[in-house]
Amino acid sequence: MILQAENQVVDVHNLTVSYDNKPVLWNIDLTLPKGALVGIIGPNGAGKSTLIKAMMGIVPVDSGYVKIFGEALNVVRQKIAYVPQRESVDWDFPASVYDIVMMGRYGKMGLFKRPRKADADVVMDCLRKVGLVALKDRQIAQLSGGQQQRVFLARALAQEADLYFMDEPFAGVDIATETAIIELLREMRNDGKTVVVVHHDLQSAAEYFNWTILINTRLIASGPTPQVLTNELLQKTYGGKLDVLSQMQDIIKIEAFSVGHS
C-alpha cells in the first residue's frame, strides 16, 4: 500500500542499494509530503538507516534516484539537516557542547570563513530549544546519552534546514528527553518543516508520526499513519517475528476492555 503524497518534498524513485552485492534496499519508490512528521519503521536490518542515508546521498546507490524539493541533492544540500545515530561518533573528541552545535553552521559559512555573531546567536537559540544552555561549555565526553542526543538535535536545528533526517533519535535516551524531543519535532512540523525519523518502537509510532513508511528491504507501505499501521501491513513487515508481540497486544486490549465492560 504505497500512497503518493501531495505537495512532495522527497521523491524516491526505484531506489536500490546494496552492500557486498547483497541488496539492503530493493526498488524503493515513494514520496513524502511537506510539513509531515514521518516515521520509518521496520525490523533490525531492514535498511531503515540506509534509506535515509541514500536519501541524503551518502551511500552509493545501485539504481534509481532521489529528488528533494524537486531538485538534485547537491542543489538543495543547504536545506537538509541530519541527526546521526549517537554511536556513530567518538564522544571523547576534545570539543564542547557549543563547538559541536556550531558545526551545524559550517555548511552555510563557506570555505575558510569563521563563525560570525549571527552564527553564535543561532547556536545559542538552538541550545535554548533543547535545554542545554547551562551545559554549553561542558565537554561532550561528560554528557549523558540523552544530553548527547540533544546536542546532535541542536546541531541539526542550527542548520536552519527545511528537511530533517534523524537516525534513531530516541534510542537509549531517558523519557524526559524523549518527550522533549517529540515536542520539538511537532513544533518543527507545525512550522512547515518535514522531519523523517528512523524509529524502532511500534508502540509510540502511531502517536508520534502522521506519515509512516514500513520497510523490510522492500517497501511495504508508505502513507498517512492510520492507513499504514494496520495489523496486516505490520505482519507483512515483520513476518513471523511480530506474532508474539501482537498476541500480547491483543491480550492487553481484551483485558482492558473486559475491565471497562464489566
Partner: protein, 290 residues
C-alpha cells in the same frame, strides 16, 4: 653556532609533526602517519634518480605524490576490498618501503643516499649543507629553511581550514551532508603529512618522524579536552623533546634523533603518571555517598 641550527631544525620538524599528529590521532590514523613516513621512500629515490640532485623541491613533489598514493591505496584496500584497516596499512606501506629499499641498493653507486641516512636521519650533519646567498654569505642550513617553510605551510593550512579539519575528523558523514568534502580534506591532511615527513627525513629520519607524529599528540590528548589547547600542547611537547633530546644526545654522545624520541617518550610517561595520580586524587576527594 651549529648547535642552535640543529636544535631549531629539530624543533621546527617536531612542531609540524605535533600539529598534524593531533589530527591523525583524533582520526584514529596515527599509524597512517607511520605508513606514509615509510612509503615516501621510493618517491624520494625516484625523484633523485630523475633529477640527480638532492634539491628539496623535486624530492618534496615525488614523495608528496607517493604519500598521497599510499593513503589512496590504504583507502582502496579498506573500502573497496573490505580488508581490515590495519592490514591495509601493513600491506601498502611495507610494499612501497621495500620498493624504496630495493631502488636504493640497486642504484647505490649512482646516488648519494644510503639506507641508514633515510631511516635514522642525521641531524648532526645538517649544518654542513648550508644555504648560500649569491654574494657567498652562508645564511644557515638548508634543512632549517625547508623545515621552516614546511611549518609555515602546515600552520597556514590548519588555520585556514580549521573548521573543515575539525568537522571531517569528528563526524565524517555529517560533513558530507552539509557539503564539506570529507575526501578532499582527508587528502589535504595526508599531503601535509607526506610533505612534513619528507622535509623531516633528512634530519630525523623515516622511523623517528613517527615518534614526533604520535607521541607529543598522545601526551597532549591526556591533558586536555579542548582541541586548540591540545594542538598548542602537542607543539610544545614536540619542542621540549627536540631541545631536551639534543642535550641528552650531547651528554651521552649518542644519536640526536634517537634521544629526541626518548625524551618524547619520557614526557609521555611523566604526563601519564601525573594524570593517573590526579584522577585518583579527585576520586578520593569525591564523597562516596551523596
Amino acid at each position: 653556532m651549529s648547535e642552535i641550527w640543529i636544535i631549531l631544525t629539530g624543533a621546527l620538524v617536531a612542531i609540524s609533526c605535533g600539529l598534524l599528529g593531533s589530527f591523525l590521532l583524533l582520526r584514529k590514523m596515527a599509524m597512517v602517519g607511520d605508513a606514509i613516513s615509510h612509503a615516501v621512500l621510493p618517491g624520494i629515490v625516484i625523484s633523485f634518480l630523475i633529477t640527480g640532485t638532492r634539491e628539496s623541491l623535486p624530492m618534496l613533489i615525488g614523495a608528496g605524490i607517493i604519500g598521497v598514493i599510499t593513503t589512496f591505496l590504504i583507502e582502496m584496500l579498506h573500502q573497496k576490498l573490505k580488508l581490515q584497516e590495519d592490514a591495509s596499512i601493513g600491506v601498502s606501506f611495507t610494499f612501497l618501503f621495500a620498493l624504496g629499499v630495493i631502488l636504493i641498493s640497486q642504484f647505490a653507486d649512482k646516488i648519494d643516499l644510503d639506507q641508514d641516512c633515510v631511516l635514522y636521519g642525521d641531524l648532526a650533519m645538517i649544518p654542513f649543507d648550508q644555504l648560500t646567498l649569491t654574494s657567498g654569505i652562508e645564511i644557515g642550513p638548508r634543512a632549517f629553511y625547508v623545515s621552516m617553510i614546511n611549518l609555515m605551510v602546515v600552520i597556514a593550512v590548519i588555520v585556514l581550514a580549521y573548521k573543515e579539519f575539525v568537522i571531517t575528523t569528528f563526524d565524517n558523514s555529517y560533513a558530507k551532508i552539509i557539503g564539506i568534502s570529507a575526501t578532499l580534506w582527508h587528502y589535504v591532511l595526508m599531503s601535509c603529512v607526506s610533505f612534513t615527513t619528507v622535509t623531516s627525513f633528512e634530519s630525523v629520519g623515516a622511523i623517528l618522524v613517527v615518534a614526533f607524529l604520535v607521541v607529543p599528540a598522545a601526551t597532549a590528548y591526556l591533558l586536555t579536552n579542548k582541541l586548540k589547547i591540545m594542538l598548542a600542547l602537542s607543539a610544545l611537547f614536540g619542542l621540549l623533546s627536540s631541545v631536551g633530546g639534543y642535550y641528552l644526545a650531547t651528554y651521552f654522545d649518542s644519536s640526536i634523533a634517537g634521544s629526541m624520541s626518548v625524551v618524547a617518550g619520557f614526557i609521555f610517561g611523566l604526563v601519564f603518571s601525573y594524570t593517573k595520580i590526579a584522577v585518583r586524587n579527585t576520586v578520593q576527594t569525591e564523597p562516596i555517598l551523596k
